[in-house]
């Protein structure tokens, strides 16, 4: 198990649920799901990158 795999699994599964609950219509759901997935992954990478200089 890698951190990246956990991030991708978490982001994809939660995005599917959010898209189903928040939007109606196939097209809108796919668009919202992809946007949410991208936001999860991008924000995690940015926060991880910002924390890189901190000692563990």
């Amino acid at each position: 198990m890698s951190h990246l795999l956990a991030l991708l699994l978490f982001s994809s599964l939660v995005s599917v649920v959010f898209a189903l609950l928040q939007r109606e219509g196939k097209r809108e759901r796919i668009r919202f799901g992809l946007l949410t997935f991208g936001a999860f992954v991008a924000s995690a990478l940015v926060v991880g990158w910002l924390m890189y200089p901190f000692p563990s």
Binding site: F10, L20, E24
Partner: protein
């Protein structure tokens, strides 16, 4: 004038069983309300999230005292998964493994799956009373 918030025909007497079924098994409330595809996708995704969490050594044992509010809230979140939570505990997965590298991931996955199921329960309620079409 009709209430503009009512956008679908409510299912009479359906709200309480829909919410209870949704708690017992993610997506079951939607299946009861005949939103089959949505119910099945919710079932698979939320169950996958919870199962991954259990496989990654999450701690499932309940903490129901208020002296540690965060531990209390995370237990409530996990219990919102309904039957899968209690089945996993009865199968001996309740202790988790705090030394495992994946332990905190497991905790997060199981807690978030329960929180998502609360949203699913609210969605089932909205569909049952006619606030959403939910198709």
């Amino acid at each position: 004038m009709a209430d503009s918030k009512i956008i679908a025909e409510p299912r009479r007497g359906g709200a309480v069983p829909a919410v209870i079924l949704a708690w017992l098994l993610p997506g079951a409330g939607h299946l009861y309300l005949r939103r089959t595809t949505k119910g099945l996708v919710l079932l698979v995704t939320i169950l996958a999230l919870f199962s991954l969490g259990v496989a990654w050594d999450a701690r499932l044992s309940p903490y129901l005292r208020l002296d540690d509010l965060l531990a209390f809230l995370r237990s409530i979140a996990q219990m919102a998964m309904g039957l899968p939570y209690f089945i996993a505990r009865s199968l001996g997965f309740d202790a988790g493994l705090v030394t495992a590298p994946s332990h905190e991931y497991g905790n997060t996955f199981t807690e978030v799956s329960g929180l998502l199921n609360i949203l699913v329960m609210l969605d089932a309620y909205d569909i049952a009373v006619g606030r959403k079409s939910g198709s």
